[in-house]
Symmetry: C2
């Protein structure tokens, strides 16, 4: 261990401890804390957050980071930690603390204003807050660009916060290809969508029985309950304290069987990534998934490429029928597989099917670009939103809650975040293509044998944490960096076959 | 607000936040964290504990406390906070930090050694560790007595840590009276114990149904689920982040109906105390129950004095029968009331009935006194233990696990803690006598109307937190400080009547 790192370690350990506490408070808040607790508990969280911030951003740590930047013989782990901390510095330090604090106050209030606007179906309630958030973001971008060495565009700076190495240059190419190839496919598929009847999915599925099956489902794909917890929350998510404590939630809907099933598989994909981080990295800043996109690459791989395949359900479907013998009495495996792969353009991103999903992201990407690069009039966003939905998906929101107000992300200040969902979905298709090359994937799925799949993902992706970038991982694993063609090919092949056969 | 207090507040706020995090980690650890998590999570907890310690014990805070000691116009709240912090200083500061740290290390390891010894039924496995703990305690007592102003005995110093104002002088009188009056009563009752058949209690009570009923039971006595959570753990306990987040656990046994019932009522009594602390005190060091004994006074009041009365079960028993229609088909209310009041000397404290309970504490009290005042040979403790059980309760442990190894307390270094259980039980009887004076208590219980009971306890006991001592609360409420006669009278009246009628 490097000597300067020895001096940095107490700071890192303290940051880990405070970070773990904050994660636990968030988990508890979403899954267990009583209604009335939030206000007083928020005070504790605020103190711990400030403490965390000051543990990372302070003169002593800065000095150590500067010294470390001169060091040549750092290990991969040390280099990854240094890089992560420097990135945090570069994004936080140029911003005057008092402006950062009032922004934090705004961001703390904004989600409830957004929720109110959504409930009232009225964008105008949220628009002034959204403008404030965007103004802060633009100011912060200015500070950061001024302090930084690289010459990049404002939106590229935001993108870089979530997905290093993926700028508008790469994303424009990606989304243009998507538009060109997938929009016509969606139209073709849409013409035949009524040939698939999935009425069975909306029958009565008691939540307790769903819970039992979903637990088995998580276990089936490799979720290790010795190191993990599965629980309920309004919006499903994955969180972790370290690689031996990884937690997922599922939201159950009594009249929608699929909803919880694919949410559980999705979150299990995230969870496996975190469970497989190397012991020597966990609890350090390098001990988590390398990027949003690579994380989504794992969850989407499990949810869609594996989870919606026929082979995946071969060992599970009878068990599902046994859990719901009456509800699924007249449904066979083939009908079920058609059902879970039915594509139908819709308004809500989180409920979108595999084929149309990335078009929802495309729309958000184009709008975010307009906000940060063209100073679009924020009051015009609902109109722009509607027009794009009509153009790309052929559907038009009647209400703001089904349109521009559907996602919480902007209310949390998360701009530049959405593209990672589409990137991740494309990365998943690329990994899927590779897995089929290196192992008898369908055989393993049919046998319910996830061990070789998880071992491979662990060895080539998961264990590295942040010591490799997304592209480095892909190149080392398959000799090629990110390539969206795999995703296009996957969708075309799968959906053309599926719908041609109808 | 006092100006010096203004300077102290940031420290208190930070201590509150860190304390809340530590409480949440403990709750999570007991109720939810996955098996494999503990080692890595313990590292975070250790850092936060040290951070907490340094937030309270440091030069700046010490200086402020010294300044505050000179102040005359402090509010009750400020005085209580000052007193609590000074007490923490007086107990921690005289101990050399390196000795304190190695003691902490010992205490972290000891419970698992104790558990091993208990599982192996072999006191000799635990004895060396117990000796080490006692040696540290004796050393620490010496440091503290040397630094302190008061001339008190070593064991009195320990007692004072848990129960201010109750020294061996008071406790000797209390326990002697108990021995004289209760031991003969136990013998008389024991002779008739076979006349009560409570076989029904050990039938098959599915845990899920128990959970449903116990939740209702907690609600019945006033537990507010908007501010609270009920969950499962191996050993039941109550914890709280503040007065709007109070949590209890229950342990369910499929073949013992009573076990969970009275544990839920007991923990609800603790929880109500914490839920009723005044808003202006919660999140400060004065914002919790005033003492162990007063806390146990609430839980025991609910569990025994109220919870084992006939009136308590009048509005509940039919509901219990509806929950377990087959199991309780042949049981009526009177049989049930006899069953839950059956007394029978036994070996295990936590399973002891209301009449014999305090004798278990008496034995521990006498042994702790021998340890700290007479330097008894630690190897002889199992023999002494057995002799005392035989003498006071007429039963003799066959195994160490049923004897000296049954409780975890000593392995955690908690000496002087046990007496609070008996004191609390006596305080409960005193409060019970008072409640009967000031309100139609039985009427309220029969109507399932806990509002007036809880309002009274809140107004006269709970809301004050630590701004009054145990005795101050009793005197202000009923014009009389602690008086164990209420307890003796209660037991005699109740059990003589119960068993004379048989």
């Amino acid at each position: 261990m490097n000597k300067i790192f020895d001096k940095l370690n107490p700071w890192l350990t303290k940051a880990y401890a405070l970070g773990a506490a904050l994660i636990l408070f968030e988990w508890d808040n979403e899954t267990e804390a009583p209604e009335a607790a939030s206000e007083l508990t928020a005070r504790a969280i605020e103190v711990l957050s400030n403490e965390y911030y000051e543990t990372i951003i302070n003169r002593d740590v800065k000095k150590l980071l500067n010294q470390l930047s001169e060091e040549k013989n750092l290990t991969d782990k040390e280099r990854a930690i240094l890089k992560d901390l420097k990135k945090q510095y570069e994004s936080m330090e140029p911003i005057p603390p008092e402006e950062y604090q009032s922004y934090q106050g705004l961001i703390a209030r904004a989600p409830s204003i957004w929720a109110k606007a959504k409930a009232a179906d009225d964008y105008n309630i949220f628009a002034p807050t959204l403008k404030e958030i965007i103004n802060y973001q633009k100011k912060f971008i200015k500070y950061r660009l001024k302090a930084g060495k690289k010459k990049i565009t404002p939106y590229d700076l935001l993108l870089d916060d979530y997905e290093e190495g993926f700028t508008t240059k790469e994303l424009d190419v990606f989304f243009e290809k998507l538009k060109k190839e997938i929009v016509p496919l969606i139209q073709a598929v849409n013409a035949k969508k009524d040939k698939i009847n999935k009425e069975y999915n909306y029958r009565d599925y008691p939540v307790e029985l769903q819970k039992t099956f979903n637990r088995k489902l998580a276990e089936h794909v490799g979720f290790d309950f010795d190191r993990g917890v599965i629980k309920e929350s309004v919006h499903p998510f994955t969180t972790n304290l370290h690689n031996k404590d990884v937690r997922i939630t599922t939201a159950y809907r009594e009249h929608n069987l699929e909803s919880a099933l694919f949410s559980t598989i999705h979150e299990s994909g995230h969870a496996l990534y975190e469970m497989h981080i190397a012991d020597e990295l966990t609890t350090t800043p390098a001990g988590t998934g390398t990027s949003m996109g690579m994380h989504e690459g794992q969850s989407r791989l499990f949810e869609n490429n594996l989870g919606r395949s026929r082979a995946f359900w071969v060992p599970l479907f009878q068990n599902l029928k046994d859990t719901f013998p009456e509800q699924l009495a007249d449904i066979d495996l083939d009908t079920f597989i058609l059902g879970i792969n039915k594509s139908s353009p819709s308004l809500i991103r989180t409920e979108a099917d595999e084929l149309t999903y990335s078009l929802h992201i495309l729309i958000r990407y184009e709008i975010e670009k307009m906000i940060f690069e063209k100073d679009v009039d924020i009051d015009q966003l609902p109109k722009i939103w509607s027009k794009k939905y009509e153009e790309y998906l052929g559907v038009k929101p009647e209400k703001d809650s089904e349109g521009i107000l559907q996602d919480i992300h902007w209310a949390c200040g998360n701009f530049g975040y959405f593209p990672s969902y589409a990137l991740g979905t494309a990365i998943a298709a690329q990994i899927y293509a590779h897995l089929k090359q290196v192992m008898p994937l369908d055989e393993h799925l049919k046998n319910g044998n996830f061990q070789p799949i998880n071992d491979y993902l662990k060895d080539h992706i998961h264990r590295y944490g942040k010591t490799k970038t997304t592209n480095e991982i892909l190149i080392d694993m398959m000799g090629e960096g990110f390539n969206s063609q795999y995703y296009i090919d996957y969708l075309k092949e799968k959906f053309e076959k599926l719908y041609n056969d109808l």
